[in-house]
Symmetry: D4
């Protein structure tokens, strides 16, 4: 079992197909970095609907706080989960059809009034941000996480500056 | 209860919102024309998911042969039903968001391998065709319906010819 | 001749170009799995229109029950066939132009009222689902097929669960 | 019968639905202006396919030189006609679905190698240009038409200049 | 001052232009329904950037828990706020340009790794869902809100069922 | 002649059709506000190409500093002018076809390497910004304009704050 | 000089960039097959506008009958030529930007009323069809070409049938 | 430090990520060709917002005349800079997400009235044109640059003609 993963996890990460794992592991990675527990679940809205719904229904009472769901094509996974829980659900559209993720994006985002899905960018950036958003939500009641987020934000800025220096040096050498 | 509608109906017509009725009544109208029984159901994939699933699960044993489902935006209705039955499911994307039905179209159409939705054109033409397709499916084992379909196809052609005549006459008079 | 293919076949699979075969063989594969007979036909709506129409016209009296048609670009193949038969026609948009299948999708889907095409997802998932939908239609009057579909649906769910286990194990080992 | 319309006409103008007439009458109007004979035909690729094909097949031997075809949605009309004749076929996509003509545009334009359709802009500008293109084609062997086209091109430019003057005057007066 | 609005509010609702108010008032309405305090702020990412940033920077220490931001066109508002706070930021794309909200949707959603925006559907449904998502986040530490959300979810389902009854009755009367 | 318009004007505003005037008058209005001289020209890239080119060619030696060009559909106007001058050319896509300005946007923006067009947003916001950008360019050598721009930027921010106050007051009164 | 190319050619083939040659050589190839003379011209609407216009202006009096123009991105080439001649102009959108040819397609197609461009499909299929359309136009006054076109159409159909046979055989062997 | 780069540079080139450098170096290259000084800055609108804003705010008083900014996805960089300066800002959309640059394009282009961004084509052609546009702006008060631009424009045309010759020769040899 990888670092942050455990059964009564704070964040449940769903993916609709094993081919989505290369993308959704970005969510897991950032939760590991922040020391937040999570559980990876492979369950499809269309191919294993009963188990998906059963997991969604018991997520709240099993201690989950936030759900992340990544899927491609007619990406109903996040929406189906959101229909069966009152926990915040974060959706990650995966680019896995010839339409380059536009189908997954619109299927995840355009939810009807009453059942929100917090949709992220298509692909890896979105999967990573799903992890960050989950941490931002958990940090509302966790001052240690809040402090980590503050440091993370500073590190983001510092990393850009360091990369500029590296770029300038490599330019200067030419 | 309108003409063709009854409880142990051959075709179950779902719509996700009462605002879809103006579109989906086209499916009902064509089934009425062909004398095929149907039942209209208003049930949302996201707002009333349990009832939607329960209806989908019992459709086969309650005598339904074909399911039609119309919805807009992140239109998961047809896909969610298809996940819970082995009956043929026909999806009608409804244009009900600023994105002009492109969201409903892709959410209905781009189903993963294993769980098909027979997707129709966006809007009224699609809703009417959902009815025709249901009749084409039922006609495989109903020679009376098959004959009606043959006559319908001839009438389609004749109507175009009559409209040409009317157009030519109105042109000639100018 | 491959396993399921025979002359008085229940399903006729059309493709508009030999380059569509890599996609459309998915329809054939699933029909083979279910033991449903089919016939593969290569015929273009635009380059061999007379033969396409002639095949469409005689499909019903030659014993076909369902037609599947896959084509790319201005994909008129399914629509042209649907214009000449009252059998259910399933369309598969193929991604074969720089526009990534959006052209094939809209050309197949947006049929006028009176002449439906049951449109599937773009590409391989769609071709496989065309086969499943054909089986769902045939199963309405074939209890053996209906039972197979029920088992298939359970296997779909079980496969997802097995893949989750495999994923968890490979994660745990890292 | 309107001015330029006659039976052995040089240009045959097809439309797929009577609702396309408001658009396609622009093609007729410009042919009237240039004194080129035409015949309006209402015939659908999908609802009256046999008549459409029969007209296409006999167009050449009945004296037609150029065919114009306007249709909306899965606009196969021009392509189906082009499949059955070697005359130049000009396609006009009509905006008649929620997708704003993008479906008609791609269905008309994306023809496979071997069967061209000369596609015009969506809507009225395209219908008018279909008429002009027909005249440009006919003018290759008609010096009177060629001269008229030359004068038309000068008038186009002059009209823009006159409108500038009118605009400046209306501005100056404010 | 409307019902739920107060200065040390739990939810800050930003809009980039006064014309967005007709949309964003949906977020306020749902917060009022749940008795959650909010503050409406009109501030543009591009026209009043300093104030927008200053508000974002002080949101956390002023007691805000969740930020909602709605904007149209090149909708940078949610992203700019997210760049200056570690609070969860929910973005609502507003359809206010000829491109029907596609510009606002992509500008809000496609955030780079490290700076998430929880994006909702385009328009009113999205604005209402932004309110619900804020409540779902706040409910993680508020059992009263959690209970209300549970009742709300049941009411959503019940409302659909009541509307079905009304629809059936109105049908039956015809 | 309106306020800022004169013959040896600093900014030449082209439009391709008189129907573009309702949009392009926004460019003129902002130049009037800043006291920058301009000349309105109605000339089409396609219908009056010679005059368009002739105006472009003499713009530099006639004292023009910046050119603004607005057009719809296959909007070549800005690009054609840019091909014939080395002055900065600002393009405004106008929404005047069923495709909602996407055609004008791509036709104006996607210029090949060597011949830039500074493209603005579709419609009125873009036309107004074309005026502002022209002023920003002229201000590089005009300290009075630079000062005005500074004040304009402050006024933009102040106006947003005033509108917030008005909104809060109208809310409070309800 | 390749087979069909000569100075007083019937068809002038323009391309906007040498990178378009891989596509536009398809037009030349089909003209070679039909024995129609052509001249290849590399000239850009934006980078060498004067020569492009000069060639367009003298095309008619130098004996050209039909012009083909292929370009990518903001593909103004066909439209600029059409603005300066009354010959039929055929446009081929080339997929040469990240937007996959959608920019070239709309820039070529959406011409204003009065100046048509006969637009073909994006890429190689379109370039080949541009050659066929040119031949269809020339065949109106050339019975030898007309006969060749008739044979070509039959060969198109026969080739599809032969490919079906080959496909069936390769299937049978498996 | 590369040729044209220096601290009190006339043109400041921003990029939002080091992966944009392969594109944005085209802007630097053309400025080098024209002998215009520039400074490359790597700074993100979202990850290092404070530094981005601080640079934008001091650009004018540090001697910058024109700013170029390239970014991908929800490309806010140019817009954020434009919000904090009155200098002309040129935006280059970079294709760096599955959506092929459409997201970057709309995020850069669709700026609200009052805050223009001069948007270029997606990718390398756009980055090169950003450099040319900067030079066109600077040339308004630099006769030496103006003369260079005149020669550049002639060279563009000559290069096309030379490439035609090379193409014809390579054709002739075959």
């Amino acid at each position: 079992m990888p670092k942050g993963e455990k059964k009564s996890a704070a964040v449940w990460i769903f993916m609709g197909s094993e081919s989505d794992h290369a993308i959704m592991s970005e969510s897991a990675a950032v939760l590991d970095e922040f020391g937040v527990s999570y559980d990876l679940k492979l369950s499809s809205a269309h191919r294993s609907p009963k188990r998906t719904i059963s997991l969604a229904e018991k997520s709240l009472r099993n201690g989950a706080k936030v759900i992340i769901a990544g899927a491609g094509a007619a990406a109903h996974l996040a929406g189906v989960i959101a229909a069966h829980t009152t926990l915040p659900v974060i959706g990650v559209p995966v680019d896995s059809s010839p339409l380059k993720g536009l189908d997954a994006l619109l299927s995840t985002l355009q939810m009807p009034a009453g059942v929100p899905v917090a949709t992220m960018a298509v692909g890896k950036a979105g999967a990573r941000n799903a992890g960050i958003l989950a941490i931002q939500i958990l940090a509302l009641n966790d001052s240690r996480l809040r402090a980590k987020l503050g440091r993370y934000k500073k590190r983001l800025a510092r990393t850009v500056e360091e990369k500029e220096k590296a770029l300038k040096q490599s330019q200067g050498k030419r």
